[in-house]
Amino acid sequence: MQRVGVFICWCGTNISSTVNIDEVVAAVKNMPGVVYSKDYQYMCSEVGQNLVKDAIKEHNLTRVVVAACSPRMHESTFRKAAKAAGLNPYLLEIANIREHCSWVHKDKKAATQKAISLTKAAVAKAILNQPLIPGEVGVEQRALVIGGGIAGIQTALDIADAGYEVDLVEKTPSIGGKMAQLDKTFPTLDCSACILTPKMVDASMHDKINIYSYSEVEEVNGFVGNFEVVIKQKARSIDMEKCTGCGICLAKCPAKTALSEFEEGLSKRAAIYTPFPQAVPNVPVIDRETCTKFRTGKCGVCAKVCPTGAIDYEQKDERLNQKYGAIIVTTGYDLINLDSFGEYQYADHPDVITGLEFERLVNAAGPTAGKLVRPSDKKKPKKVVFIQCVGSRDKSERGKSYCSKICCMYTAKHAMLLRDKYPDCEAYVFYIDVRTAGKGFEEFQRRAVENYGVNYIKGMVGKIFPTGDKLKVNGVDALSGEVLEIDADMVVLASATQAKPGASDVGRMLSISTDRDNFFTEAHPKLRPVETHCAGIYLAGACQGPKDIPETVAQASAAAAKAIGILSKSKLVNNPCVSQVDESVCSGCLACTKMCPYEAITEKMVEQKVHGKIRRRRVAEVNAALCQGCGGCTVTCRPGAIDLKGFSNKQILAEVDAICQ
């Protein structure tokens, strides 16, 4: 017979205002197996925990039930307390009488009855609990960072500086990401390249960091501490050992027909290219779709001019298998495609550009060498209209319902840069709301208005009518109710940010979830912002949601700290709530092996003595290190030969019975 102790928390008034604690205490006394009960104002406090510990010792409790807040909140707290008192922590159960009871019900009588019922279920389950001992697994002391933008670079540097090996995988030929494309950064207007390039170089020089550029993660298996990853290194067509980055091939390549990705299509690049001069690694790639050699078999100019013989047309994709203890996802964001916003003429008129294109147009290293001119006729604009929220805060099919967060600030920045370069050029900003929550942000935006004379108009643009060499912008000032028409020379659209198109595939590969907008979901929106629900996998940067550079870098360091927390351990404990097979009952049908998401169940042969005879039988076997405890197998198993520790068939049936009493 088990000796159950029940502890009922008031949670100040959070529980006690809706649940009559006295009634619960009285009811608990009559529950089968309960030998002790106690209520207290804050059971999670040290005093409260001591009540639990003392009672376990004093009353020889063999099972403990705490009726309090959600187990997702304090289960581990109370388990630790139980352990400290010498009780196996898995002999403790939580009854959730706060989130699932006092906070959602108003009727005190009904809430009290429900609290009793939930506690009774927890008692019934606890009686059937078994002591569980977590297993241990080793930790591979190496981290994988997926994505080489500022988030990935910062994470890699932080982990490497802590002394652990880091592999940084970047899909494009160079690390640097979106930040490398930016001209200046808000709210300080310091040059983006000036602050990013040193970090890129640090990463490439760091002896603990290996950069796999032009590479992709193809497969991820395993679990925290022991991820097994396949990295695909795409064929660069260049021998990275031999290439010195002299750049002769880039200049001599005759196929300069591709639009430069880095320059947002505002200029052309050669078939053999490095995305930008400060690329890391400074080794070009051959874009095989553009390259004449690959398309027709003729040409080969780059190979002829290369002084070191680094060009290798025969190079093939290579696959690399590597083990990691932790993974950090920093895959970044994209801008939405504006094709469906025909009223803004983005696809039809060259002088309607995106904010990112504006960055390139004002950048000294950009396609116009920093001379801000209209793409159509290379003339200096006299009136520029900026439109914010193009696709952001847009519930319709063509937009994104969220705020893209960075546009208000970069639009202010753009308008200031414009007015700075051309004081005689007028700047108009159409906005729905201006959001400047950030250190120095509000002051920055006000400077645009007050010192730089940027005209801010609360309202939107209905349509742009290209008329002659002007863009007739039909807008509204919603505050005054004036309908406006502006003859602009150029229009800059603050297009919404979005998750990378492949994010959900990456998510599936890593078994981390994505939200409705395909941004990766953090484990808790407030308290676990860089963790995912998958232990050992962390998030940083705009792949988790729109973010500016300061936030991204902060998150990157946070994710690095979390990863270091794993890497610094030599052993990790397992969740002991895993499946186990009763071999005497298992028929060996192995249906469980077919559905197990972790391939944690295999078959094995056992010898059994039946009626004096040895019988060799096939049965299922669970690898406790791989099993994550979903319990799916237990349902495929008709006779119940496979059961889940901590959530056994008997335990759940007992809960059902208790709840229904």
């Binding site: 997702r72 699932h100 959602v104 349902v635």
Partner: protein, 154 residues
């Protein structure tokens, strides 16, 4: 489904206090229920939640047992397909209980008494809505006698 509508239903059925057992997966729906609590949303106390690691842990036995023991409705809630914490668990849930739901309807259990839905950790509102929705329908149906063990006293 509004609380107001639900209160009306309560008035109509007066003495009938349904019992609804909800199996919620730990990672999404149980967390969604927690969020409903944190957001102080309202749903009636008739709904009682049993935590399971994943909706794929729910055995058909459990559902039938709840009905045997006097539940007037049973709910299984898990992560949205594609978002399962265990990668693919709820895809199996979807198949298993699509069939069981049809089977229960086939032997004459009113469809509204058994509900499977996907509720993510961020859908506290949906959690309350789903619970209120089932309760409202069960209210209209009245107490469940089918499958109920005549010896069991609630």
């Amino acid at each position: 489904m509004s609380v107001i509508a639900n209160n009306a239903a309560v008035k109509n059925a007066q003495a009938f206090e349904p019992l609804i057992v909800a199996f919620c997966c730990n990672w999404c729906s149980y967390a969604g229920a927690d969020l409903a609590g944190t957001s102080r949303l309202n749903y009636p106390a008739n709904i009682k939640i049993i935590r399971v690691p994943c909706s794929c842990r729910v055995n058909a036995n459990f559902v039938l047992r709840a009905f045997q023991r006097g539940a007037d409705g049973v709910i299984i809630a898990g992560c949205h397909p594609g978002d399962c914490h265990y990668m693919t668990g709820n895809y199996y849930t979807r198949r298993r209980f699509s069939l069981l739901k049809n089977l229960l309807a086939y032997v004459g259990i009113e469809e509204a008494r058994f509900k499977v839905d996907w509720i993510s950790a961020s859908e506290g509102n949906k959690f309350a809505d789903v619970m209120n929705g089932v309760l409202e329908k069960v209210h209209k149906l009245g107490p469940n006698r089918k499958l109920r063990d005549s010896r069991w006293r609630r």
